[in-house]
């Protein structure tokens, strides 16, 4: 199976001298197409830092990050932005959506950046919004939707752009348990049906319960990596 994500001897140090913090300590890590992986660990263990690395948002202090076959240290900043647009889907904890745009407009946003033709955008967005149970909410602004519905729009936006994988940093942190399980069901189904690769960082036991693989981080090191 091909690796969509690969890190080699990845190190990330914040600050210098006595104040330096080793957020990632020699991380060697692979994710294959179709995985459904949770990154877990105590606060400050480096989950977000690792996600930022494999999301092409931050540069390592040393080591390599190879995303979808591309060593990203080769890319210029502007190329990196474009790379994220085309290869990586993001779902954050909150504030994912543009408040002044409707669910539909948010969902098609990345495709607009990618210059996907209007007809195709429309087809994909309608299909996905229906799949995630948001049919009839196309015109709603984020402020007119629940947190769970907003997160589902964010998933649709990521998915519609057809990325190689989707990264989600604590996507359920602001959700109640019903919304959490709905969102997890959705992502799980998309993983099963569309073979979409998902990687989460989470504290949430319910998320871990659904994960097929759990990677445990502590002090920037992978201490356990188990497949269920």
């Amino acid at each position: 199976m091909e690796n969509v994500i690969e890190t080699k001897n990845l190190n990330k140090v914040f600050g210098i001298g006595d104040l330096a913090i080793k957020a990632l300590d020699d991380v060697n890590f692979h994710i294959q197409k179709g995985e459904f992986t949770a990154l877990v660990g105590p606060s400050g263990s480096g989950k977000t830092t690792l996600l930022n690395m494999i999301g092409g948002l931050d540069e390592p202090t040393s080591g390599n990050v190879i995303l979808d076959g591309q060593d990203i240290s080769q890319l210029k900043k502007s190329e990196m932005t474009k790379f994220r647009q085309d290869h990586i889907g993001f779902v954050f904890q909150a504030y994912n959506l543009i408040p002044v745009l409707s669910a539909y407009e948010n969902a098609e946003f990345i495709m607009l950046l990618q210059n996907v033709p209007a007809k195709e955008r429309k087809e994909r967005v309608y299909k996905l919004l229906e799949e995630v149970g948001l049919k009839g909410k196309e015109k709603n602004k984020p402020g007119e939707m629940s947190g769970g519905q907003q997160q589902r729009v964010a998933v649709v936006r990521a998915l519609a752009a057809q990325p190689a994988y989707i990264l989600a940093d604590e996507p359920t942190a602001n959700l109640d348990s019903k919304s959490t399980s709905d969102l997890l069901d959705l992502m799980y189904r998309l993983n099963q049906e569309e073979n979409m690769t998902f990687i989460f960082a989470t504290h949430d036991q319910r998320v871990m319960d659904r994960a097929k693989r759990i990677v445990y981080l502590e002090d920037g090191k992978i201490i356990k990596d188990e497949v269920h």
């Binding site: 977000t48 930022n52 999301g55 948002l57 931050d58 502007s78 932005t81 474009k82 790379f83 994220r84 647009q85 085309d86 990586i88 889907g89 993001f90 954050f92 904890q93 909150a94 504030y95 994912n96 543009i98 408040p99 002044v100 745009l101 407009e105 946003f109 990345i110 607009l112 950046l113 936006r157 990521a158 940093d169």
Partner: protein
């Protein structure tokens, strides 16, 4: 791009009150500055026309020495030649030649230094409006052999009425003094109190009798032409045949008018600059606030692959909307107001006396040279663009990692 515009537009109207206030103040600022400009130009034009029509004419001809030494001896050197040149010039619609000298006006109680203007009654009336400005009496009827017209304020100060006797003293060409009793035949009010206080008018023939001169001595020939814009051109034509006398346009003859024209342009630019700077800060402040409030949103957009360029465009559009909605509305309302008061006049009669003291009419007809609208619009566009750069720059500096970390 359409979506960016949509985002910018909706963000502008996310807080309608804030946006309304900013756009409203842009409109009011521009409108009021145009109002001021129209008013100032109207006042200036009114003063200019008044000065030209009652006193200066468009062109004046003197002896070259007269300007520095308005002495009775410094009369127009070659009157024949000048008259001939004027008669032959197609742009000249009228002229009047005057005997002008300084003298002293005495009443039983007081005396004043004044300027005696000896006028050709008919020609003067055909050229200038001063003889129509008589408040009481007229310039000049038959009832007095030696009539004089004095200014309204001078008459008040010296307690003169129609028929009052005054004595005028002046130096004759042979340098001896002479004086003669005149009777007040008219009390006039030109609209310029300083001028009225100093200038008195008598028929030219009367003054020739007083100085016992047979020759028609004149010191000043005032010319009216068909188009004020042609003053320089006509002057140049006249100078071809007039060699020994000096020809001045109204602008040269009245330093105040020249100064007013210059300072008007200056004032306009100061006014425009002040408004533009205010507009710039209004837009800057609002859009920077909007960017800072949306740091996390912008961070997310950068993360999902929105390029710096697009973020830049999104925020720039937001600033442009303020300027491009407020600017044209301000210009338009300003223009409409100016056009209205240009046609119907702006009534200032309650300030009449103060206005007249400066040679102004009480109804001001607004006027703004068209090019000012273009200059203003151009400056507004420039300011808006500059005002958009800073917030857009701030937005592109948003670090996605930090913005997301604060979520």
């Amino acid at each position: 791009m359409k979506t960016l515009l949509k985002i910018s537009w909706r963000n502008c109207w996310k807080s309608p009150l804030r946006t309304g206030i900013v756009i409203g103040s842009i409109i009011v600022g521009i409108w009021s500055s145009i109002f001021m400009m129209g008013f100032m130009d109207g006042m200036m034009t009114s003063r200019k026309n008044n000065v030209i029509n009652t006193r200066l004419g468009h062109i004046q001809i003197h002896s070259p020495e007269y300007e520095y030494d308005p002495n009775i001896l410094n009369s127009v050197k070659d009157r024949e030649k000048v008259i001939q040149a004027l008669e032959n010039n197609p742009h000249v619609v009228g002229y009047t030649d005057r005997f002008v000298t300084e003298g002293v006006l005495k009443t039983a109680r007081e005396q004043r230094g004044i300027k005696i203007n000896g006028i050709d009654v008919e020609k003067d009336a055909a050229t200038l409006l001063i003889s129509e400005k008589a408040d009481q009496g007229s310039f000049f009827g038959e009832e007095f052999k030696y009539p004089v017209a004095v200014g309204d304020k001078l008459a008040k100060e010296l307690k003169l009425e129609i028929g009052s006797k005054v004595s005028l003293s002046l130096t004759k060409p042979d340098s001896t003094q002479t004086s003669k009793n005149f009777k007040v035949a008219a009390i006039y009010k030109s609209g310029d109190a300083a001028y009225d206080n100093y200038n008195i008018f008598v028929p030219k023939e009367a003054i020739y009798k007083v100085i016992k001169s047979d020759e028609p001595i004149v010191h000043e020939i005032i010319v009216k032409i068909d188009d004020i814009e042609k003053a320089d051109e006509v002057k140049a034509e006249l100078l071809k045949s007039i060699k020994s006398d000096e020809v001045l346009t109204w602008l040269e003859a009245d330093p105040y008018s020249a100064y007013a024209e210059d300072s008007y342009g200056m004032m306009m630019f100061i006014l425009m600059t002040v408004i533009i700077v205010a507009l710039l800060f209004g837009i800057l402040n609002t859009v920077i606030m909007s960017v800072l409030e949306r740091k996390r949103e912008i961070g997310v957009l950068r993360s999902i692959g929105m390029t710096k360029k697009k973020v830049w465009a999104m925020i720039t559009l937001e600033s442009l909307i303020f300027g491009l909605v407020g600017g044209p509305l301000g210009i338009l309302t300003g223009w409409a107001t100016t056009a209205y008061f240009g046609k119907y006049g702006f009534d200032l009669s309650s300030y009449g006396e103060a206005m007249e003291a400066y040679g102004l009419d009480t109804i001001v007809y607004f006027n703004i040279p068209v090019e000012y609208y273009f200059i203003y619009s151009f400056l507004i566009v420039i300011a808006t663009v500059i005002g958009s750069l800073i917030p857009a720059y701030i937005a592109t500096r948003v670090n996605p990692i930090e913005a997301i970390r604060s979520i």
